[in-house]
């Protein structure tokens, strides 16, 4: 493997830069995926049949905390990559770990929220609106869950192997993924919750 020292570690081999490019292409597909889910949601948003509508169930409090957690975690994963570029393994791992913890916090709140909805009689089966809401939020949540597991695997590799072209590459790609989830959440926050509460 040829290592090109003039480039950042995560780009330093041909394989590495191909992986990053490939991941961008994959994110293109992810954008198409979420765009479709949002479209489905917008089509369904007024079709709540005899079930509750958005304003009936949405609560701004937990959603604000979720947003705060995810935005902060997007910032900390940025710091982790920054630390990686400087070769500070310890700092990198701390920021990386914090990111994952916040992701976990986000998931906890989301699950609690789902439980509340279901207790209020708002289930996947109730109406077209709720089906699309649960699937949109659930897909994002599943992405965060997968991100958590994936990130944990990378963290272990960082611990074992240190910052190498391979681990740097993985961490960087993970950071792209995490930022992407954050962007999707901002759309959910604005067009599902804020618009729904208005």
């Amino acid at each position: 493997m040829k290592i090109d020292a003039s480039k950042p570690l995560e780009y330093s081999t041909e394989e590495n830069s191909n992986k990053i490019f490939g991941f961008w292409v994959f994110l293109g597909a992810e954008i198409a995926l979420f765009a479709t889910l949002f479209t489905v949601y917008f089509v369904m948003v007024d079709r709540f049949a005899s079930g509750p509508s958005g304003p009936d169930i949405f609560e701004i409090g937990p959603v604000m905390i979720e947003t705060l957690l995810l935005l902060t975690s997007s910032f900390t994963i940025g710091l982790a990559v920054h630390a990686m570029r400087h070769g500070y393994q310890k700092a990198m791992m701390v920021f990386f770990g914090l990111t994952l913890l916040m992701g976990l916090g986000f998931l906890g709140i989301e699950i609690m929220e789902f439980v509340t909805y279901v207790h209020e009689g708002a289930t996947l089966q109730t109406s077209g609106f709720l089906s699309s809401l649960f699937v949109l939020l659930g897909t994002h949540g599943a992405h965060v869950t997968f991100g958590f597991l994936w990130g944990a695997a990378i963290l272990i590799q960082l611990k074992r192997q240190g910052i190498t072209p391979a681990t740097a590459n993985k961490s960087f790609i993970f950071s792209l993924y995490w930022h992407f989830l954050d962007v999707v959440w901002i759309f959910i926050f604005s067009f599902v919750y804020l618009k729904g509460l208005m």
């Binding site: 490939g22 479709t36 489905v40 079709r47 089966q125 077209g128």
Partner: protein, 647 residues
């Protein structure tokens, strides 16, 4: 547990199929054990990451599926050959046309093309491999096990029966209570994920791994078509992913996406399906255009006419393909404005397609044409596809479509586009590239026999359907009475279908015959061809090129031969290769188990296999095998041997 769910009742055909599946499986297992081939199979094929072998496996699977889809087709033709036939009942006919359509498009045409693209594209761009060889294996095994999942539906639980487009509410639990449409959603989902990964892999391969000097506008036309196709895949397949997931939620968890009450909306399915479904037909047809461009240029001994306009017309087609989906349901009450928009965009596609047809004709003009088998298919494609295209424009007129909608006219139209546009193309490509992969040609005489059987029978079988459609025979109709007058033409169509079978049998026999008797090639360039894949030896060494070629012109190999431009200037050095791995295969197996469990709502195995999938993925992430090097001496020795020199 309710064992009855697994059973498919009654039909002797199904018992026959069960028996043959069991016998074939036992046969394979016994054969492999007897000849001690398990290790070989595992080491050389199931764990391979070599793009050529993966391509071959795709093509083999596609040929198998062509057989399965063909059997379905013949059963349908037999059932409608005469009035009041009693061969299939209505339910069985529904299942057969559904699996026929699904299999032909998703598990035959597309994988065949992906197979050719796997074998050829890295060679055409002078690369040693695809960008992500292991992911490539993952793609293949997901496709393969997705296909298998759909196939077992015939004998376990029941096939999908709501058409390949699975319109709601027909496909809902209420109207399709068997597990058939669960199979539909899961089998397509699994293989679809594989296809999406292929899309990503080949975009990176083509954009980042071309040999030095190969600018985008110097790429061979097949590679161009594959690049554009993969871009369509990356944007279209996520829509299918979502649609299938929603279908699964509706059928398995009682959500209300496509229901008729509680705020559900059946038209949402139609829209999602065709937003993916229309681009899908271009996913199979654009690479076909690429194949024809290569073949026509090679056998006319001329540069492809209008290279730039070929590329741009493909780009325009790919954009338009996303803007026409609603032409599939003009009659479902979407209003005149919407219909007009989709009518105009649909007809617009005829323009870039026409440009391509004229480019091929101009390439042929004054060429030194040799009528080889692949060339014959390419020449037959032009007029037949044009008939398909013209009838397509007829269908594109929204107001007129109220007349043709859901009649045999439509069935004739799409077979007139798909068979020359996809099937002839993959057969032509198969004959054309066969000597590259195996080092000998298919027999030309047998090839031409098969060709004439296929082309003539195709027209005999499908032209009558235009007339039947205009006479009012509806599509997906399993029987009719003598008074309708559909009998005679339907019988002609059946006879044509039998002719097609004869053609395919000759084609397969040709593979067998040629393997035994055709003389072997010596220089790897039997057709005196133009593009880089012919610059390496046949059969292709694992590393493709001992030295990476330096490209200076379009049709680089041709100019290397004509103008004595050197292609290989560097010295032979050690070559990096990825190691084989069994994980993609295992991943495929687990996906299969997960899919099967979900089809029957067996939650515990489903959850366990979900965990299994994560474990295999983690194992892939922790894997630190970075491949190995083939030393320069070994490469030199291999090259000498391929040149026929003794080492």
């Amino acid at each position: 547990m309710d064992w009855d769910k697994f059973k498919v009742h009654g039909e002797p055909l199904i018992y026959g199929a069960m028996a043959s599946i069991v016998l074939a499986t036992i046969g394979i297992i016994v054969g492999l054990t007897y000849f001690k081939k398990w290790g070989y199979l595992w080491r050389e094929w199931l764990t391979t990451v070599d793009h050529k072998r993966i391509g071959i496996m795709y093509i083999l699977a596609a040929l198998l599926m062509l057989f399965r889809g063909g059997v379905d087709a013949i059963m349908m033709k037999l059932q409608t050959a005469a009035p009041d036939m009693k061969f299939l009942d209505a339910q069985h006919y529904n299942e057969v046309f559904t699996t026929h359509g699904l299999i032909m498009i998703l598990f035959m045409a597309m994988p065949f093309i992906i197979g050719l693209m796997n074998v050829i594209v890295p060679l055409q761009i002078g690369a040693r491999d695809v960008a992500f060889p292991r992911l490539n294996a993952v793609s293949f095994w997901l496709f393969f096990f997705g296909a298998m999942l759909l196939n077992i539906s015939f004998v376990i639980g029941g096939s999908p029966d709501a058409g390949w487009s699975a319109y709601f509410p027909l496909a809902s639990l209420e109207f399709s209570p068997t597990v058939g449409n669960n199979y539909y959603s899961l089998a397509l989902q699994i293989s679809g994920i594989g296809t999406l990964i292929t899309g990503v892999n080949f975009i990176v391969t083509i954009l980042k791994m071309r040999a030095p000097g190969m600018k985008l506008m110097k790429m061979p036309m097949f590679t161009w078509s594959v690049l554009i196709t993969n871009v369509i895949i990356v944007f279209a397949f996520p829509v299918l992913t979502v649609a299938l997931a929603l279908m699964m939620f509706d059928r398995l968890f009682g959500s209300q996406f496509f229901t008729m009450a509680n705020g559900g909306m059946d038209m949402l399915w139609a829209n999602l399906f065709w937003v993916w479904g229309h681009p899908e037909v271009y996913i199979v047809v654009l690479p076909a255009f690429g194949i024809y461009s290569e073949i026509i240029a090679t056998f006319s001994k001329k540069n492809l006419y209008g290279y730039t306009s070929m590329v741009f017309s493909m780009l325009i087609i790919s954009l338009l393909s996303f803007l026409v989906w609603a032409h599939h349901f003009y009659t479902m009450g979407q209003g005149a404005m919407v219909n007009s928009f989709f009518s105009i965009t649909t007809m617009a596609i005829a323009v870039p397609t026409g440009v391509k047809i004229f480019n091929w004709l101009f390439t042929l003009r004054k060429g030194r044409i040799s009528f080889t088998t692949p060339m014959l298919y390419s020449l037959a494609f032009i007029p037949i596809f044009t008939i398909g295209g013209v009838t397509g424009v007829m269908l594109a007129m929204a107001s007129a479509d109220y007349q043709y909608h859901n009649t045999m006219f439509l069935v004739a139209h799409f077979h007139y586009v798909l068979i020359p546009g996809a099937v002839f193309a993959v057969i032509a490509g198969f004959h054309y590239w066969f000597p590259k992969v195996f080092g000998f040609r298919l027999n030309e005489r047998l090839g031409k026999h098969a060709f004439w059987w296929i082309v003539i029978s195709f027209n005999v079988s499908f032209f009558p359907l235009f007339l039947l459609g205009l006479m009012g025979m509806t599509r997906r109709q399993y029987t009719y009475s003598a008074e309708t007058g559909f009998g005679p033409l339907s019988m002609v169509s059946f006879v044509g279908a039998i002719g097609l079978v004869v053609g395919f049998v000759i084609l397969v026999y040709n593979i067998y015959w040629s393997t035994r008797y055709e003389p072997r090639d010596t220089d790897g360039d039997p057709w005196d061809a133009r593009t880089l894949e012919w610059a390496t030896k046949s059969p292709i060494p694992a590393y493709n090129f001992a030295v990476v070629p330096n490209v200076k012109t379009r049709d680089a190999y041709w100019s290397a031969k004509q103008d004595k431009v050197p292609l290989f200037e560097d010295k032979i050095t050690k070559i990096h290769m990825p190691s084989n791995t069994g994980k993609p295969f295992i991943l495929g197996v687990i996906f299969f188990i997960a899919g099967f469990s979900l089809v029957f709502s067996l939650w515990i195995p489903a959850i366990l296999s979900g965990v299994g999938i994560l474990i295999v993925m983690a194992a892939m992430s922790f894997d630190r095998d970075h491949g190995f090097y083939i030393p320069a001496e070994e490469v030199i020795a291999t090259e000498k041997k391929l040149r026929g020199e003794t080492v």
